[in-house]
Symmetry: C2
Subunit: 199 residues, 2 copies
Amino acid sequence: MSEAPKDIEDLVALMARLPGLGPRSARRAVLKLIKKRALLLIPLADAMQAVAATARECLTCGNIGTTDECDICTSSKRANGELCIVEDVADLWAMERAGIFKGRYHVLGGTLSALDDVGPDELRIPQLTRRVQEEGVTEVILALNATIDGQTTAHYIADQLDPMGLTVTSLAQGVPIGGELDYLDDGTISAALRARKAL
Amino acid sequence: MSEAPKDIEDLVALMARLPGLGPRSARRAVLKLIKKRALLLIPLADAMQAVAATARECLTCGNIGTTDECDICTSSKRANGELCIVEDVADLWAMERAGIFKGRYHVLGGTLSALDDVGPDELRIPQLTRRVQEEGVTEVILALNATIDGQTTAHYIADQLDPMGLTVTSLAQGVPIGGELDYLDDGTISAALRARKAL
């Protein structure tokens, strides 16, 4: 049975499809939106329409921007020759928040996965080898997630790039800053021990 | 520093104000929206605009509908004389999902709270006493949350209605259906024991 008008039910159903929201939290969110119509609901609808009209994938790297080539790809301030490979745009944003990497990115759009039938051609891997040759890339940094699929993909890419004679690195693995040993998994502690450094 | 175009940053900031979403889950939600532009982003923007244009509070009971008087208040199928008092519209929806109550509602819009400086006039309490007199209400069911503020408000309303000579009831307290005693708090078990019934 329907407890709310159809317009509102429809909005709840759409909101419930967002990651992090279920049916119950979608209802709460919609009620808050209705209570704050001028401050939240209308601005949010407008912001969504603006993003729907302008957001697009960068043809070169797969980042999301408002033009065919994203701000990072076209920026003259970014270092040439360094390419950081990430799984998706959220990871690119995370790298940018860290603010330390000054090269450019390549967004794969996922990881290789036998289970989900994702092969190299479903990802942006053919474009990667082309970029490496055309842009004079000297170092490729693999910033993939430390998951099985992420690391499988990293090894596959490293193999592909091996004949091209460039440096391929990956993010260091170890104890996160602020991390307590007691709360870390065994794999992380082992990795950190193997990669220990002289003080 | 800004890692995404301004349009997208603005959308993330607005999404992060929804209950249940923080900055990180708002970013993930926005990336999903952008990936599913035709299936999710545009329908969601349209649904929000539709709700912004049509949703309004029922002048009688405070429910949210699309007209000055909500579907429940105007329905001839609802029993006259029974009024169920709830804190907010989410509670009204929860009652309607249960599908057992056939009377009408009165949405208070919150609870009395000395801490937050909410008195009877900030809630829909003056309208309640007026409705009780004008609509020939014979039973008022207090379906307020089993919190301190909810129960304080219930007692205040019961006191206000006392001289009017009608039945005032409240939802039974006890073990929830499917509830395991071992996981229940002491207060609930005590309440269920005090209200025990002959089989």
